[in-house]
């Protein structure tokens, strides 16, 4: 690539990340095969409380649906048809349609693992209403123990009375699930394991936040495409929490070094854009396409959301917003307290919270990350991925950030994404800002 402005080089930590991910997948596969372990369908939400059950692995549909979309167009197309013909709406989220359809075809994953192999279901009603119902299908197709939980939330200023009542409800739901798993499967829940994870996870989250903050530097030491290879590692702490902590420490060190030495993710960086929600997993090559314009994506609300809401500091940097949490120095001694610390806040934990009380979040994000533009996909079939995009687009436009919208079905569903049209739009958008492809 000509017109190199910055030095660039591959990340050294890449190999370690691959190893950790492979280990996690291996553990899941072994769990599926082992008679001594249980594989649950569900979503434990944030910190994985299931860590207290040795051998219990909770598998969530979102990553599987996304993997299917990126690995095989034809397989996920077959899966979605299988889902549609049985009544699931074809305008539903691609993640869930991929997963449900896959099960109808007799598989539980794109790797060919036979269905059903899950032994219980813990569907945690999700901020997204399609996901709130995602546990039902494996329950319909196999008579497994099933549990419900809740995702209480409220809007408005922090209200201690509401906090305490709603968080307690959430905690009691999970306590009930844990008690029932103990009763049904005869396994003892190991509280110490949960306490240990709770000791590690906040420290990992601080490091993940740090990575996101470092991406605000010019040149960006890391682009969103690279971050996509790492970001889910922050929540895969279950296999070996200490190993995960060590990994993130090393990762922060490397990214900090890149910042200090002006090592760029894109050697020609002259344009920075942000996103808001997931990118099309089967078509990530538009990131490379944009590099032809010297453009780098510095992340999205989605990728950085995993590390808590941000606030803009007075000095223009971005930092973590303070939240209700266990008071400093207070040792968690009970399962209840542990769960309370996981579910610590009920206020506004839903996709639109930033609009309702923190309208400035999207604009703060743009300011702190020094962006020139924003690419905001409109996902027709993904409610959670679409809510507020137009409103955010308007708000960014008002502050002078150029906004590009494009349409598609959902990040895990290639059906309606017109790739040619998308790339055309990128060309027109960049050219309209006076930028041409670098020779």
């Amino acid at each position: 690539m000509s017109k190199q402005i910055w030095e660039t080089r591959p990340l050294e930590i890449w190999g370690k990340a691959k190893e950790l991910r492979a280990n996690f997948q291996k553990a899941i596969n072994e769990a599926a095969a082992s008679p001594n372990s249980l594989l649950a369908h569900g979503n434990t939400g944030g910190v994985d409380w299931s860590v207290g059950f040795d051998g219990l692995n909770v598998v969530e549909d979102n990553p599987i649906g996304a993997i299917m979309a990126s690995r095989s167009d034809s397989f996920s197309r077959e899966a979605r048809l299988a889902s549609e013909i049985r009544g699931w709406g074809r305008e539903l989220c691609g993640y869930v349609n991929n997963c449900w359809g896959c099960q109808f075809l007799g598989y539980d994953s794109p790797d060919g693992a036979p269905f059903p192999y899950r032994q219980l279901s813990v569907p945690l009603p999700d901020p997204c209403d399609q996901h709130a119902k995602r546990g039902q299908q494996c329950m319909d197709l196999s008579p497994i123990p099933r549990f419900g939980a809740d995702w209480p939330m409220y809007l408005g200023p922090i209200d201690p009375e509401r906090e305490s009542a709603l968080v307690e409800h959430k905690v009691q739901c999970i306590l009930h699930v844990i008690n029932e798993i103990e009763r049904i499967f005869g396994k003892k829940y190991d509280d110490e394991k949960l306490f240990n994870v709770l000791d590690i996870v906040p420290r990992v989250q601080v490091l993940v936040t740090k990575i996101a903050q470092l991406m605000a530097n010019v040149p960006a030491p890391l682009g969103l495409k690279e971050l996509y290879s790492f970001y889910t590692l922050s929540v895969l702490t279950k296999i070996d929490p200490q190993e995960m902590l060590d990994f993130w420490k090393a990762f922060v060190d490397e990214v900090q070094w890149r910042v200090d030495n002006k090592i760029a993710a894109v050697a020609t960086e002259r344009y920075r854009w942000m996103e808001a929600h997931p990118s099309p997993w089967h078509f990530l090559r538009y990131f490379r396409y944009m590099e032809q314009y010297g453009a780098v994506c510095i992340g999205s609300q989605y990728s950085h959301m995993l590390v808590e809401p941000f606030k803009l500091n007075d000095d223009g940097t971005i930092g973590r917003e303070e939240q209700v949490k266990v008071p400093e120095g207070q040792k968690i001694r009970t399962r209840e307290d542990a769960l309370r610390s996981i579910f610590r806040e009920a206020r506004g934990e839903r996709f639109k919270d930033d609009e309702y009380f923190r309208k400035h979040v999207i604009t703060d994000f743009a300011k702190a990350f020094h962006v020139d533009g924003a690419i905001m996909p409109l996902w027709r079939a993904g409610v959670g991925c679409t809510l507020t995009r137009k409103e955010q687009g308007l708000r960014l436009s008002e502050m002078g950030v150029r906004v590009l919208h494009y349409e598609g079905a959902q990040p895990g569903d290639r059906t309606d994404l017109d790739e040619h049209d998308f790339l055309d739009r990128l060309d027109i958008w960049m050219e309209s800002q006076g930028l041409e492809k670098l020779a």
């Binding site: 209403d129 319909d140 809510l387």
Partner: protein, 377 residues
Amino acid sequence: MKTFKEILENRHAYAKDWKARTGGKVLGFYDTYFPEEVAYAAGLLPLRLLASHCEDALTDRLMYGNCYCTRDIFNQFMLGRYDYVDGLVSIESCQWWYNAFDTTLIEFPELWSHYLFTTDYVDARTSKDAVFSELKIFVKRLEEWIGKTVTDEALDNAIDVYNKNRALLRQLYQLRRFDRTAVLGSEVMEIMLANQVMDKAEANVMLESLLPELEARAPQEDGVRLMLIGSETYDAKLEKLVESLGANIVTDELDNGTAYILNDVIPMKNRLMAIGLRYLGKPHSALKDNVWRRRPEHIYQLYEDFQADGVIIAKQIYCHPHGSDMYAVWKLLRERNIPYHTFERDTTLPYEETKLGVEALISMIKPGMTRLHGWSK
């Protein structure tokens, strides 16, 4: 006396007139899980926000992918049709409702507003405690807004009025349980919709006068008896189309149909808990039926009770709760040999396209039925 149909057609005028007569405030809400009794006890008019079919050149700027109902209600706010609404309340419902609530407040920040969490998982052991706590907080906020206390007496009165309203509407539904019914599905739907925008005490007076008249009607040929399920409806166009083909909607499983009236508040000393339990005990909506599947069996029971011959499932495009509940409903209907037809609705109800499917369903149930020229109810 005005008819329910007239009130439905002039619902904005009705609410404005109510305000002028009573000096009270109007509180708009979106979903039937909203415990109206509490707002009624505070002297407010709980007003169900209903979608219409009005020109829309505004919402596209701010919304993408929304179902038509939520988009249209927001549009009506933008057009000034809801300019008499003083406050807006949203409960824990689907994301499109949430989006409409939120976006409306961004555009109309002067509206009083509250978000009331009604549990997603209604059957959890602590759901009643969470809802009770939320109701207490809601009452506190209402009291701050209206500047007076919501008394136990007012709550008792509201419970009585609403229980009576539901009982009267159940009587209305009962009229179609028998062969040779004299009441049309379109008439019932218009009453149900009008009732949701009315002061229930006034609606009760009208219902008490109307019900004997309906009961006294001469029975007519039944035609094909159909049940309507799916996303909410905001007019009786589909019912009328069905009637034009020699059939009648005899029952439904709609949020603003049977789900609105089938259970009552059982009075308790703890009034708010009593009200909360009524809403938790409602027949599950598609969204809240998210663990054990209760809804399909409930649909079947209604189907049997009202001696229906077939089912029409009308789903709004982009209605995710119903899009993710169809599998179980289809499965049950098939297993029990119940003829059904599913179709997607949108802003409009395309007459010929809809008719094609409904005709085929009727013809499947009773071949030859739709071939009778001039057949009408």
